[in-house]
Symmetry: C2
Subunit: 300 residues, 2 copies
C-alpha cells in the first residue's frame, strides 16, 4: 500500500460496519464522523448528551436524523464510555472511538469484566504512516500504551500490529524489532530481545509475519543502507512494521515523522476484542478518518 | 544558525588549526581533507603508510607536498592512532580525525594514560542537524557512545554538547531532556531524570545553558505543539539541544532525520581534551567536512 487514501478506497462498499463513539459531544469528532459518513465508510452510534450532540452536529452539518446511519444513545458523560463499549461487546458495533472523554475512562470501560472488550492480551498502539518520498506505508508500535515492554509483551505487541496489518491487506508483513545496532550486543537488551523474537518467529511462536532483528532504523527502512552493511535479511530495507524497544523511541520517532518528515498518520489501539480509535485533539479530522478506516479494516 | 554551511563560513580565516588524521590512507578521508584544505579550514597532519597516502592523495588530486598545509607522519597502522592523538596531546594539532582505523583503536589511543586526551569526563557523541523546513539547526546527543546513561552521565552528556554548541557560536543554548511525555511519571525514569537535570541547571550544577524537561519531541521542537499543550518553558518549541534518554532513541531519531527528513549532519565526539571526528564510511564527504568544521569550532 502506498497511501493512506487506499485504506479508504479499499474499504468502501466492502463492509457495513458500525462505529460506537464514546461521548460524541465534540465538534472535531463529529466532523470526522461526518466525513466518514459522506465517504460511506461506516454508520455510527453516538453516545452522550443527546441535545449537545444534536447542537454540535448542526454546526458541522452532520445530519443526525438520517435513519440508520446515525443513532444516538442519550446518556451521562460518565456512562458514555460504557455504553459505547457495550454496543461493541454485544455485537451492535465493531469499532469503539474516543469522543469527548478521558482516555483513562474509555480504557476502564474497555477493560471492564462485564460488557468490556478484554481478551487477556495487552493493548498496544499501532500507527501507520505515509511519509513523503517513501515508497510504502510503515507501521510503528508502540507509541502509547507500554512504557518499557519485556519480551513477553513485545511478542504480543508484534501480534497486535500484525493483526492490524493483515486486516488492512498486508500479506506476511515484515517486522523489524529495532535497536541501535544490527548486531547482538549483550549490554543492549533491545538487541537480545530482537534476536529472541526472530527465533520465536522461526519456531512458529509468532506467526503470520516475518520477524528479523535487531535492525537499526536505517537498515530496516533503506535497502541501500542494509546492503552497505552487508545485512542478509528478508526484512532489512523492506520493513512494514517497526517494533521499537521503548515508549521513548516510539514517541520520538512518531513525532519526528510528523514534524520533520511531514507524514500523515492513522492509528488504532489493538489487542482488545475490537479495535479502538483514540484520536487526540491535535489530530486533524483527515487523520481521524484515516484512523477510523484502519480500525474498520482491522475489525473482525 | 540556520545552515551547516555557516559553520564553514564562520570558521574561515578565523583560526589556524591543525587536524591530525589517524591512518589517512583512505580515499574518502583524503577527499574530505582536500575539500577542507581548499576551503582553507585547516592544515593537516596525516599519520599512516606514507607511500599509500601519497598514492591515494594523487588519486583525489590532494597536493601532499604543499609545504605547511599537509605533513605526513610515516608509521604502521597500529601506530597511526597513537601518533595522531599524540600530535594533539602535545599541542601540535587541535582536532583528531578518524581515518582508516577501527573506532576502538582510535578511542584506545584517546583514552591512553600517556599522551592520550583523557579528562576524566565521559565521551559523548554530539550531532548537529540541518533539517529542511526547520528554522534552526538542532543538536542531538548521544547517538553513539553511551547506551543507557544514568543521571550523572546525562549531566556530562549535556555539558559536552553545550561545550560544542558554545564553541560554535550558540549563546546559552536551550537544552531539552526528552521523554515520551512532558509531565513527570514515576514509572518513566526519563521524566524523573529530566526534571532533576532541570533543577540541577537552576542550582548552577549545569551552567552555560538553559535546561527544561521533560519534553516530548514535538513540545521541544514546535512552538505550536508546546502552546497547544499549554507548556510554559523557555526551552519548549525552541530547543537547541535534544538530550535523549537512550542510544535507541538517539539512533532512531538520527536515522529518521537523515532518511525521512533528508537532513544534513555534522558530528563530533566531545568530552576528551580535544574534539574527535569519527566519520563513518557511509558519510558523504560534505558531511565529513561539516564535522571537521564543527570540531574546529569546538576546539580550544
Amino acid at each position: 500500500m502506498k497511501s493512506l487514501d487506499e485504506l479508504i478506497t479499499n474499504l468502501k462498499h466492502q463492509k457495513s460496519n458500525k462505529v460506537a463513539v464514546a461521548q460524541a459531544a465534540d465538534k472535531e469528532v463529529l466532523l470526522a464522523v461526518k466525513k466518514a459518513v459522506d465517504l460511506q465508510l461506516a454508520t455510527f452510534i453516538l453516545t452522550g448528551d443527546k441535545e449537545e450532540i444534536q447542537r454540535l452536529a448542526g454546526e458541522v452539518k452532520l445530519n443526525v436524523h438520517a435513519g440508520d446511519e446515525i443513532q444516538i444513545i442519550d446518556c451521562l458523560t460518565e456512562e458514555a464510555s460504557f455504553e459505547a463499549v457495550k454496543a461493541v461487546s454485544i455485537g451492535t458495533a465493531q469499532v469503539v472511538m474516543k469522543g469527548n472523554v478521558d482516555t483513562k475512562a474509555l480504557l476502564k470501560a474497555v477493560l471492564n469484566k462485564q460488557d468490556g472488550l478484554r481478551t487477556g492480551k495487552i493493548l498496544s498502539h499501532v500507527a501507520l504512516f505515509e511519509i513523503p518520498g517513501q515508497e510504502r506505508l510503515i507501521f510503528l508500535t508502540d507509541s502509547a500504551m507500554n512504557i518499557a515492554p519485556n519480551l513477553e509483551e513485545k511478542v504480543q505487541i508484534i501480534k497486535n500490529a500484525v493483526d492490524v496489518a493483515i486486516g488492512s491487506g498486508w500479506v506476511m508483513p515484515k517486522v523489524a524489532p529495532l535497536a541501535a545496532v544490527e548486531v547482538i550486543n549483550p549490554s543492549m537488551q533491545a538487541t537480545i530481545d530482537a534476536a529472541t523474537l526472530t527465533q520465536m518467529n522461526r519456531r512458529g511462536q509468532i506467526s503470520g509475519c516475518i520477524v528479523d532483528g535487531p535492525l537499526a532504523f536505517d537498515n530496516a527502512v533503506s535497502s541501500i543502507s542494509a546492503e552497505q552493511k552487508g545485512i542478509k535479511s528478508e526484512v532489512a530495507g523492506k520493513a512494514d512494521i517497526l517494533m521499537v524497544p521503548s515508549i521513548e523511541v516510539a514517541n520520538a520517532l512518531y513525532k519526528s515523522f510528523m514534524y520533520f518528515a511531514h507524514a500523515k498518520v492513522a492509528a488504532v489501539i489493538s489487542g482488545a476484542s475490537a479495535p479502538i480509535v483514540l484520536t487526540s485533539r491535535s489530530d486533524t479530522s483527515e487523520s481521524k478518518v484515516y484512523s477510523l478506516a484502519l480500525a474498520l479494516h482491522s475489525s473482525k
